[in-house]
Symmetry: C2
Subunit: 527 residues, 2 copies
């Protein structure tokens, strides 16, 4: 049941005076529930409770954290139709997407559950003593990762489940042993509260400390700012706009004790279409990309917003087919009127730039909040001299850039800001003549794709979802897959520590049977 209140640990609370409502973009009306903005006191209470919970939660075994995470997944599934209905109402996204995203969310929770139950993720490293070493004896040293402390998580508007309340940031932080305080996304506050109720039920059932999770409502930026500035918050996970992510990064960097901010922000995901591929399979790729550009109403962070190719007949044919195909697709609703308004503003800004040709622009009447998909093209030289053309238009929009030669193509890629993904569309062996293009692309992205589309982010260990700034604030980490847990921990070494007092992960007898680096060799053996 949706109450509209904040969860301060296990306790429902509505101390604040301000309220807001979520919006159904499909029906273009407000939803029925009223949400209470978290007050300053409620924020402080949630963080202090998280800090208290941390003192216990950091000692909770991997097996017990695994039970907790599995129970969260189970409780989310238990929410049944109410969750799906609320998700669809608040996002305008279809039921199939809601169910798919719920599966992904629960899969992520269970993946982290397996990871911490197995236990080797702590990077246990042991160098045993050499008492007779000259000139000085060598001490026994043992190192492992421990959690940083309470983490603030900011959910994504475009992933109400998989990258919000119980999404990748929360799942990885809880798995690491960090309590989480979520600043709920105002566009899906109801979905957020339902998921929170599942987390709290799971926390109670598995006897986790009160405060291991809190959920704060807010329609503005103040709650998030106060959260990031609080001395007991030790790291931040964010998915959203460059402006929002950078503001939190700046706040966190200016603290007396700076803390890491892992913000996954904007990306236009360049796609390089090589000439033979365009000639041989241009039509197929045009259809594939018409679909990828409009998938989820173009509201994926991996949406292909920039198509790069060498000018010529093949490219003109591709642009024509892409434009025809994309106009065949029925427009769909955006997440919120604000996002819809911004989409049209950004498109108009693009249309005003010199040298731009609009090759497809859905013009038939559509319902309120529905996005009209668009393809534009521009020459390489115009693109190079106008950085406005490098900006993201969040929605079903893509720009084709016609380069006059390979050097200009490579130069364009070098001039791009950091990106989540870069794709090469190529016929067999053609790519080998484009070394400089591939090298340039690798320097600007977190993930390279061959003959595919960037949309669709697999959850697996080898996935890198993150890239050079501004794709993310720290390209050395990502929010998807098991390695996301490494964002929330730091190593601690124990020197000559008595075996009985060591954490189980570092004991001689290796009671958890984890893989450890012992005197330079990876092993599960005892000492």
């Amino acid at each position: 049941m949706i109450t509209g209140k904040n969860y301060i640990g296990n306790h429902l609370s509505a101390e604040g005076k301000e309220t807001f409502k979520t919006f159904n973009p499909q029906l273009n009306i407000e939803t029925e529930h009223t949400f209470f903005e978290a007050s300053e006191d409620e924020i402080r209470l949630a963080v202090n409770l998280a800090w208290e919970a941390f003192q216990k939660f950091k000692e909770v075994s991997g097996a017990k954290k695994a039970n907790f995470l599995r129970e969260i997944a189970h409780q989310i599934e238990n929410l049944g139709d109410e969750l799906v209905k609320t998700y669809c109402q608040e996002s305008g996204l279809p039921e199939g997407r809601a169910k798919g995203e719920r599966n992904r969310t629960c899969f992520q929770l269970r993946t982290f559950s397996d990871l911490v139950e197995e236990g080797s993720w702590v990077n246990a490293t042991i160098d045993t003593a050499i008492p007779d070493r000259k000139p000085q004896p060598k001490s026994d040293l043992r190192k492992m990762s421990i959690p940083l402390g309470p983490v603030a998580v900011f959910g994504a508007s475009n992933f109400p489940l998989a990258y919000s309340t119980a999404g990748g940031d929360t799942a990885s932080a809880l798995a690491a042993g960090c309590p989480v305080v979520v600043k709920s996304h105002p566009m899906h506050a109801g979905t957020g509260e339902l998921v929170t109720s599942a987390i709290i039920t799971a926390a109670k059932k598995t006897a986790m400390p009160n405060g291991v999770f809190s959920n704060l409502n807010s329609s503005g930026i103040e709650v998030g700012q106060q959260l990031v500035k609080h001395t007991k918050i030790k790291a931040v996970g964010f998915t959203g706009s460059i402006r929002g992510g950078r503001a939190l990064f700046d706040l966190a960097s200016q603290r007396r004790e700076p803390i890491p901010v892992f913000a996954e922000m904007g990306s236009i995901n360049p796609v390089v279409l090589l000439p033979k591929a365009l000639k041989k399979k241009g039509t197929v790729w045009a259809k594939t990309y018409a679909s990828s550009i409009t998938l989820g109403t173009g509201q994926f962070c991996t949406n292909p917003g920039l198509l790069l190719a060498l000018d010529g007949d093949g490219l003109d044919g591709f642009i024509q087919t892409l434009s025809e195909e994309i106009l065949k697709i029925a427009p769909s609703s955006m997440l919120h009127p604000n996002i819809h308004t911004k989409y049209h503003e950004h498109k108009r800004m693009m249309f005003d730039q010199g040298g731009l040709s609009v090759t497809a622009n859905y013009e038939a009447a559509v319902a309120e909040n529905y996005a009209q998909q668009t393809v534009v093209s521009v020459s390489g030289s115009d693109f190079l001299k106008n950085s406005k053309l490098h900006q993201e238009v969040f929605g079903p929009f893509s720009m084709v850039v016609k380069s006059k030669d390979v050097d200009e193509l490579a130069n364009i890629i070098t001039q791009l800001e950091g990106q989540l993904t870069g794709t090469i569309i190529s016929e067999e062996s053609e790519i080998e003549s484009y070394d400089n293009v591939v090298n340039a692309l690798q320097g600007r992205v977190g993930r390279l794709i061959f003959n595919g589309v960037p949309t669709g982010v697999e959850v697996c260990p080898a996935m890198q979802h993150g890239g050079p700034y501004p794709a993310s604030t720290d390209s050395r980490f990502g929010a998807v897959g098991i390695h996301a847990i490494q964002r929330w921990v730091r190593p601690v070494s124990f020197q000559d520590w008595p075996n009985t007092l060591l954490p189980d992960e570092l004991k001689d007898e290796n009671p958890l049977n984890i893989s450890r680096l012992v005197n330079g060799a990876q092993t599960k053996e005892c000492l």
Copy 2:
């Protein structure tokens, strides 16, 4: 031979007008050489050359980087007596220390050489395709670490070799595939130039690209600032003061594209002396700590500046013995007149604080720049209410804090800023009654030591040298040991990439025979 010039890649350069000299603190006179400050043009040239070199260096194989690093160690050893003599002149440290630190520096270079020759450090992760997976097929995904780009390194005054020009930061960055531009420490610019000449000789002999290493002289802060702000510098390594490290961190965070700064800064390295240990072995520990506090004239970042214990007879006896023992030790020279002046200023500031007792203060006349060692004591309640007492006094100074009970002791630890180390001195099993103290200490430090001294930082994989802010700007990493390489890399994923075009580390046939995480299992097997 020392020329006083900057190395812009392989080229000696002295375009700047400003000059400075280094200082011999033992003789209290300037040394013979004149050093030319790097000009703005020289800085730009060095960084642009590093960027060009990066395009080639990032493709250099692990085996070739290993040769380069080994050759650097060899060339440093080849510098022979001139290096030792210059080191001693510029630092006031004894010959034994110079030779020991040279060994450590070469050991570090060879350790990273072995690491990159073996190759598994890139964290290769492979998830193979599942073409018939429902509802969507799964792509092939392969991930590994790649270098970030040119790194700026700021050497430490107190480690002219091991944490300066070719020290831990440089060795790990070069090993990762990142060119390095060093802002040479002005107190040992001659030592820095000699080591640079060894690096350049090694780079030429092993055919590394020009610009893979540069060395810039500077006696002020402007050269370092310009370096950190340059868009082609992608990360920073620093060892030094909180003020200096924080200033660079702030500059780097405010860039349009923020970059990571790994600054190892201040630490007072709390030591907790438990009552039974004080009673049974107080005299032994007093002698041990008198020696640790004065080691290297107290100029180690792990110097034990804070001794915490419960008030009582055992503690009074310990303080008396410690004070007697420390006064028996012959004073020694500090690194530089500036450091010596600051030591005395900070000591005087401490003496002015309420409640402080000076229990040992070497008062006999000493040579210029020699430090007079000092022990002071204060009550727990006075310490808690005065944060000035928590500051570092860089030099042979230590403060004993007398706590009235265990709760106050734990509270003091909780109130401390982040530290590199925390030590427990305990008789067998005594420690088990001090859970809250040990827990509090673990929350504030990067390394816990049992019945030892914090000075002496072993170079091995299980060492963590770094801690919560302000011990370092990023507690998740450290500057000592093989894991230091992970600071300079980011992961990149390849999706459905043709096997022949993949980096060797990710190819089906595993030609480098490295350990990889393949479909969840760590293995050296081919696919």
